[in-house]
Symmetry: C2
Amino acid sequence: MAKGLRTHGYKLTAQRLAVLQVLREGNEHLTPAEVLDRGRKIYSRLGMTTVYRTLELLRKLGFVRRVHGAEGCRAYAEARERDGHHLVCQACRRVVDFPCSGLNELIEHTARRTGFAVESHLLELAGLCPACQ
Amino acid sequence: MAKGLRTHGYKLTAQRLAVLQVLREGNEHLTPAEVLDRGRKIYSRLGMTTVYRTLELLRKLGFVRRVHGAEGCRAYAEARERDGHHLVCQACRRVVDFPCSGLNELIEHTARRTGFAVESHLLELAGLCPACQ
DNA sequence: GGCCAATTGAAAAGACTTTTCATTTGGAGC
DNA sequence: GCTCCAAATGAAAAGTCTTTTCAATTGGCC
Ligand SMILES: [Mn+2]
Ligand SMILES: [Mn+2]
Ligand SMILES: [Zn+2]
Ligand SMILES: [Zn+2]
């Protein structure tokens, strides 16, 4: 994942590595403020501005996913499944990715019915993880 | 839809009727600020605080849906399809609802695979409407 | 090692949302 | 219709979150 940054021409900085590590170590979704807190334990000079910028960068590169929920729409989790979706535990905030397959049929059917040219989709399931049930 | 307010024990105010009318007249998703602008053409004393409160109320009652997109996550559109999902045009912001059917199979499969007890789901498709293609 | 564009972060600015609280009002009851 | 009061409202203030600015720092190519 760190290699991906270099691949795309971005510098490998301590700040970016710290944010990456934070997102990888937790299986949960985190707000920018939470990423800052945890990131500073890894690299104490980390700043909030950089957290915002880094999270957006990682999202554009596909390493990170945004989680939309009742509590808020600005939380991030590592994207473990390429082009996948995610399932969120409402109790412990754990995030589990799952593959996209099986949705295409529904999307194509809806596209035909409505005449829309569908370019992207967002699917998020919420519930309770095995440990929290 | 206005009847639904009374049914649930809420007062029928000019402000609420104005917000309802705004959401019904546009087929697009609107931010609170846009709802305020348009709502004031119907009821000029409408205030921003009331717009926020009314949009959340209507969402809880199921008359209105939130639209999550690249441009932002706080936009609302009328929920025309009960328990449905929506398709958003990235050009003209038109929103079209479609029924939920066809997704249950995928959800149940994912629930079985992950052990999660799925309680809710969010599905949003984005693309170009027929007129904008 | 030197160089320089990319990156960073503190501070300021900006944007958005919620709370407060005095005033207004819908509608139930008469 | 009129009275009454809890619900609703909105201007202002407060609070929260996010982006911009810009001078200083730094990663990585030479
Ligand atoms: Mn959102
Ligand atoms: Mn559904
Ligand atoms: Zn859990
Ligand atoms: Zn369109």
